[in-house]
């Protein structure tokens, strides 16, 4: 059924822009694929600001720094841009039943222009999934027993998401059934950090500040030598790596050293490895993500103090 409250496109349907394959081949040769130039344990800088939506109780804007080497013209790669608003604590409608704790509602929505393919206005499964992950990450942090009979809305709009692949290879990955969307992992990490900042901005009591962090196991490039062919990188940018084997995102409380959320994807082994300091791949992934998350903690603190 069509959405009658919005303006839908022409009834015949439209297709995304298709590029001339001949010209793409020539053009792709002239621009280089982005490569990760920072160290494996180095994070991209983030920009975090509170109070961008004065009509909300609390708000935050989160942005990841753009890679300097590929920020030109069409070939510039996208970064993550997230806005988060928090409304509440506010009284629940009279019709709702009594609740001794504050009810938390999280909504995550991609803007129609957030990805290389246009997204619709009605929330899809990926967005609902992200919202559930976000809810588990922040539910444990809020002291929700202080506000009985009230509700808290955390609303996230993703203005721009990262590409899952380098743009001109978009055609090839689509034909092979699509890559696993690891880009979702860094989006969730950004959502956790942004939501946590906005909650603090709204003045809601929390046990600690939760931050998101991502780590990934990537196939080493052929030039590198070592015992293992896998490498642990923090804050991975999916378009910079040929193949991501596994990825993990955590919601981490720095002061309490606790995790509220772990989401892992990909193939990882549980047996201890010689190459990565006697740790199993799972352990090193989680430790990496925790390391990334604790680095963001300082940024949140300084943005709140402003």
């Amino acid at each position: 059924m069509t959405d009658r409250r919005r303006v839908n496109g022409p009834t015949g349907g439209t297709t995304p822009v298709v590029f001339d394959p001949e010209l793409v081949k020539n053009f792709a040769a002239s621009v280089s694929k982005p490569i990760r130039t920072r160290a494996a344990r180095e994070l991209r800088k983030i920009f975090l600001q509170t109070g961008l939506t004065p009509s909300a109780s609390g708000s935050a804007y989160f942005e990841v720094e753009q890679h300097p080497s590929h920020s030109h013209g069409l070939a510039r790669s996208s970064t993550l841009k997230i806005t988060c608003t928090v409304h509440g604590p506010r009284p629940l409608p009279r019709s709702s039943s009594f609740t001794p704790n504050m009810l938390l509602t999280t909504t995550v929505k991609f803007a129609p222009f957030a990805a290389s393919q246009r997204r619709g206005y009605i929330r899809d499964n990926a967005e609902r999934d992200l919202a559930v992950h976000l809810e588990t990450a922040i539910r444990g942090v809020i002291m929700n027993d202080r506000w009985p009979k009230s509700g808290l809305d955390v609303v996230i709009t993703i203005l721009e998401g990262e590409d899952d692949s380098w743009w001109d290879t978009g055609l090839s990955t689509m034909s092979s059934g699509g890559q696993t969307p690891f880009g979702m992992m860094s989006i969730l990490s950004g959502c956790i950090t942004a939501a946590s900042t906005a909650i603090v901005d709204a003045g809601i009591d929390c046990v600690d500040i939760v931050t998101g962090g991502v780590a990934a196991l990537v196939k080493k490039s052929e030039l590198a030598t070592g015992n293992s062919n896998l490498e642990l990188v923090l804050d991975p940018c999916p378009s910079e790596h040929d193949e991501i084997v596994a990825c993990c995102v955590v919601g981490y409380l720095k002061a309490r050293d606790e995790l509220t959320e772990v989401w892992m994807r990909g193939d990882v082994s549980l047996t201890p490895q010689v190459g990565v300091g006697g740790q199993s791949e799972v352990d090193s992934l989680i430790n990496g993500a925790v390391q990334a998350a604790s680095a963001y903690h300082a940024v949140i603190v300084s943005s709140i103090k402003k």
């Binding site: 496109g9 022409p10 590029f19 013209g73 069409l74 409304h87 129609p112």
Partner: protein, 334 residues
Amino acid sequence: MTIQLSSSESGTSPSLSLSLPPSTYAKLLPLSFLAAHLPETRPSGRSPSEFRQTTLHTGSLTHAHGSAVVRIGDTAVVCGVRGEILRASDTNIPDDFSGDDSERISTLGLLIPNVELSTGCNPAFLPGNAPGSTAQGLLQRLITLLKVGSVVGFEELCIYEDRSELIASDDKMQDEPEKREVRAYFTLYIDILFLSLSGSAFDTAWMALLAALKDTKLPTARWDRDSEGALCDPRPENYKKLRVQRFPVALSWAVFSETKSKLNVVLVDADDFEESCCDEGGLIVMDIDQTTGQELLLRVEKYGGGVVAIAEMKTILSIASKRWKEWDALLKGR
């Protein structure tokens, strides 16, 4: 009632009166709070005829063909424009279509604006619901204004098949004298998201829409006979700027009238609080001809309340033309 503004009375005999901070006073008695400030100034410190400053950023979104962020006071809007291809064979426009260009654009559906308010921009529009009447009303006005204002030309959106080769190689094709034929169109999806909402929703949305269209660069496309589709050129230097024909400016206003203090003040570019106190308001959309300097009216709206003097409307129009100049300078990057 002995409620006093603590900001003006701080330090003087608080023992007799109940002293409240201005923000609480505004919540308890919004009408008298606003009336106490007027007619000279508003609670924000602006004079009734002063509009808030506009700021503009363009081209910050990577995935869109054109984008803009416009901020007027505490209202912020982001607009992204994305071109998609519509094949002429999928449309059913009659051959003897007699309408003009803007008629043609709307019949084919080449400009598709949408407004999203439920982004948490204001507690009144929380997500989880379908767009309400405010969002739909806003959208409908944008659509009509896009059509009436003939902002984008039809020619800009056509994708042609070059038939010159075909005609040269085949002399028998006498019945097709045209060198090129429209085989597809660019449909522009214009998505307007509110990041923050505090009054003057239409003004901000309209300006973001125009600035995003002005920022739009579409790839050059040609019709490929072999694949029966439109193919685009990926080279950034061959992207073509979309030509926007005019940049009308919108100015909304509200009338605050209170019987007790006999106030009847027109508040230009009212914010959230002021809008909630006024039953009467309106919108004016005007343009100034770039060559002749003539002021042109595109749309006038007035709803609710009683009467507004014609002289008052003229004052609003002159304020709107002031905003037009500010907006024009912003767009030209001055």
